[in-house]
Every structure is written in structure tokens, then in C-alpha cells.
Amino acid sequence: MNPSTALAAVVLVTAATVLVAVYGLRLSRTTSDFYVASRTVKPWWNASAIGGEYLSAASFLGVAGLIVVSGQDALWFPIGYTAGYLMLLLFVAAPLRRSGAYTLPDFAEARLGSMTPRQVTSGLVVVVGWLYIVPQLHGAALTLGITTGLPGWLGAVLVMVIVCVTVLAGGMRSITFVQAFQYWLKLLALAVPAVFLLLHLGLAGESATAGGRAFERGPGTGLGIYGTISLIVALLFGTLGLPHVLVRFYTNPDGPSARRTTVIVLGLLSLFYLFPTMLGVLGRTFTPELAASGNADATILLLPGRIVGGTAGDVLSALVIGGAFAAFLSTTSGLVVSLAGVISQGLFKGTVRGFRISTVAACAVPLLLAVGTSSFALAGAIGSVFAFTASTICPLLLLGIWWRRLTAAGAVAGMVAGAVACGGALVAAGLPLGLPSGVVQLLEQPAAWTVPLAFLTMVVVSRAGRPAAHVGAVMARLHAPEARMPGPEGPSRSRP
């Protein structure tokens, strides 16, 4: 494709992001505006914003890439990414909103009445956030490298610098509108090319599936039944613990609207994932050679040029590239904001200067990690992060919300056990230890045993101790519904 068109798309999206951040900062100037926003955001906007922040490089590029490489097994990834929000709706959405916690460490402290679980949760959130940002930067490097021929690390640096500057300026913090816009941009950036390419093929009388040969199994062995189930567990329960998800729920005024928002999010995600799946199938037909090249995540970027070519192909490619950068920017900035908040609360008592130092730290570490490591399959890398959160933060949330007898000691023991087991397994799977393939699979997809292990540890250790004295009040706060209509305006907000 044409490198200058690609570059123009990247510049356009990044410039738009910076501009909106600067103007949004002007619009949401006063602190009271910020608070009012938390009340007036409608579930539709909020749901679009959650979708915009959630759909990362792994969804935008990774799903189609994985379909090209592993075919039918890859379809479990979008199912898991979506159904994770079903679990969030069932077990977490309303109680977490009612807890009033703004970050996961806040929740741990409020529920367990102790600082140790707070600090452990903070540490985990930071690790998860960093590991989640790295694939976004790999995606940026891949996209810039493949479409413009520039060195890939420039893409990673570009995304990180833009995010760091806008977050430092305070621009991306509360702008639900920007994140909501990003969802619809990402949807269009995949839906328009997908529909256009299918129409083009239909008119040309070409088969989009090579007469069904696109669905044949490749030479690979695939995930197998254990791997599939372990992956489902990781994706379903990992979503609960993602740090950038919780903050977004806070903008719902109450528990029922948190639930309504989540139902809409499920609809938006279901709609979105149709298109990476369609494009992945087209990729199996028209760019099958990418499966072996290690660049399968570039499938969506290369398809328009391969099928249509010419100016139409360039325009469609530019659209896809713009959407991809929107994905890297929105997810990364959401994560950086959450991380900077957690770091600055933990180390700097939440001062403005502390927030700035924390922002730089939240940006610098994953950038170094991303530039220092080579890219791997995006969807797979994100899958490992989900396994890690499912083994650590998910049991804290589920037992904290639903089980009175959870103690601070139990929560800490369970999180540490899950972190050591899951983290150790993932690291060991990457080392050339020469283990039998059955063991390697247990290590590569650890969620099926590390998640129960973390739950079990929490329960056993908690049983040995006594729950905090205030647990009855906390449980009532989490679960008792809001009083019937406290007046048409809602409760007054006298103090900013």
C-alpha cells in the first residue's frame, strides 16, 4: 500500500486525539463539572466509552490474526472477551459501583479494613497494567512498520509519548465523550472495509471463503480440549480484574444503571466482534501466507490492498490504520490513567506532582519492555494477562463481594499464591526447559488450575481467621439497593 497515505492516517488520528484532549480540558475545567459528569452520563454514552477503552490492539488486530493462524480455535477469544463482561454483570457491576471505590486498591481496603491487601492489590494492578500496555505498543510498532516501512519502534514511542503528554495535561481523564467516540470509530474502521470487501468479492463473483477451503484445519494441533477450557476460564474471569474497567463504572450514578450499562456493553462488543471474525476468514482466503510469517496480526492492515488495490484499497487501508491507532491510544491512555492513580496514591499520597511522576513511570516501564522484547501474537499475549488477573484480582473481587468470611490475611495469601503460580507458569512456559508437551500446555494455559488454587487458598486461610468487625455494614452497602427516588434532582452536591 501507499506509505504516505498510511502515515497521513496515523498523523490524523494522533493529531485529533491531542486536539480533543486539549479542548476537552478547556471544557471540563472546573472540578464541579467533573462531578456533574459522573451523574449526567447516560448508560449509552457510558457503554460506548467502556467499549472504546476495552477494545484494544488484541481485539482490533489480534483476533483476525489469530483466526488466520489457528482457525476455529481463535473464535474462543472474542467469545471470552465478550462473555467476561457477562461475568462482570452477574457478579461485580452493581455491588462494585455501590462500594464507592474508585480503584481496585480502594475496594480492597474498604472491604477488608486493612492496608496490606491494599498494597498487594496496588502492586498487582501495576504489573497487570504494564503487561497489558506492552502488546498495545507491539501492535503500534507492527502497524507503523508494515504500512509505512519506518522502523517499528517509532510507532511504540509515538503512542507512548502522545498518551503521556495528554494524560499529563489532564486531558484524557474524564472525557467519556472521547472514549465513546473511539468505540464507534473502531467499529466503522472494521465494518466499512469488511462490508466493502465482501460486496466487491460478490460483484466480482469471487468466493470469500475459497469455496469453503478457508475453513480447513491447518497442520497445527490447535489448543485441544484442555487448552480451550483453560482459555475460556482465563478470559471469562480475567475481565473482572482489569484495572481500567472499574474506573469507568464509577461514572454510573447507581447500581441499576451500572447493570444497564453493562448489558449495552455486551451488545456493543457482540456487534464489534462480527467484523474481525469476518476479516479473519477473508485473511485465511487471501493472505494465508501471513500465518507462517509471524506477522499474522497485520492481516487486517494488508487485506484491503490485497483484495481491491488502487485508490479504494488505499482509502480502506487508511481507515483501518486510523482505527488501529485509535485502539492503541484509547486502551493505553485508559490504563496509564488508572496506573498513575494507583501509583501516586500508593507512593505520593495522591498529590498533583506525584500524579505526574507516576504518569511518567506508568509510561516509561512498558515502553522499555515493548522496545526491548520482540512482538508475539497480540491475542495470545493479552490472553496471558487475562489468566494472571483471573488468578489474582478476580478471587479478591468475587469473594470480597459475595463471601462475608473473607479476611485480609486470606485475600493476601490467595492473591500471592495465584500470582506466583500463574506468573511462574507463564515464565516457565517461555523458557527452553525441554518439558513434555502435556506439561508445557499446563504452563502455557495455566488458568484452569491457578484460578481454583487462588480461590482455595483464600477460602482456607480466611477460615482460620476472623472477618473484620465492620463486614456487616460493608455487605449492606454493597448490596442494598438505592432508596426509592430521593427527589427528581437526586441528592444535592453542595461541596465540590
Partner: protein
Amino acid sequence: MSRPARPERVRVTAPADARVPRTGRGAADPSGDFYVRSLIRSQLRLALSVAIGFLLLLVGLAVLVAAWPQIHDIRLLTVPLPWLVLGIGVYPIILLGAFVYNRAAARNEERYRDLADPGGS
């Protein structure tokens, strides 16, 4: 036209009224605690039934596809049945589960309100 003075910077923390008034007397007195406990039990039972039903469905699909390879020969417009089910068919089921849960959870809360706070406030 003079520009308005830039407002002083204020640290944003939890909103002052993060504690929205709640129904019932909470855990402070024994009957309030009883109602909260029974609300939590019914909400948990509801969430678990939807979650377990959905998990069984997913695992069932995974086992079906792995154990019965001939299912790939059932095709619609060249697309094999497992691709249609996993790529499209699962999503409406997720949405249906979400709708059903949402209504039932709101009903549980309504029942709690009627018990814990009969007059309404």
C-alpha cells in the same frame, strides 16, 4: 473582554455524596441484617445459575466440536456449522442471559425494598 480568572486547582477524590441513601436499616439492627443476608443469597443464587448455565453451554460446545469432527461437514454457504455457532450464534445467547439476569436482579431488589422499607422513602 477580560478572560475569567482560572479557577484554583482542586484535587479530585470521591464525590462528597458517594454514599447515596440506601433502603432499609442496614446491618445496624438484627432484622435489617437478616433482610440484607437474604437479598445477598438470592442475588448470588441468581448470578450463579446464569453463570453456570452459560459455562456449561460453552464447555458443551467445546467438547462437541472436539468430539464430533463430522460436524464440520454441515455447511451453510460454505461456512461450517461450528464457525457459525462460535462466530455468531453464541453472542445472542450472551445477550439473552444478560437481559434475563438484569430483570431478575432488579426484581430481587424490589422485593427487598418492599420488605425492608415498606413505606418507601
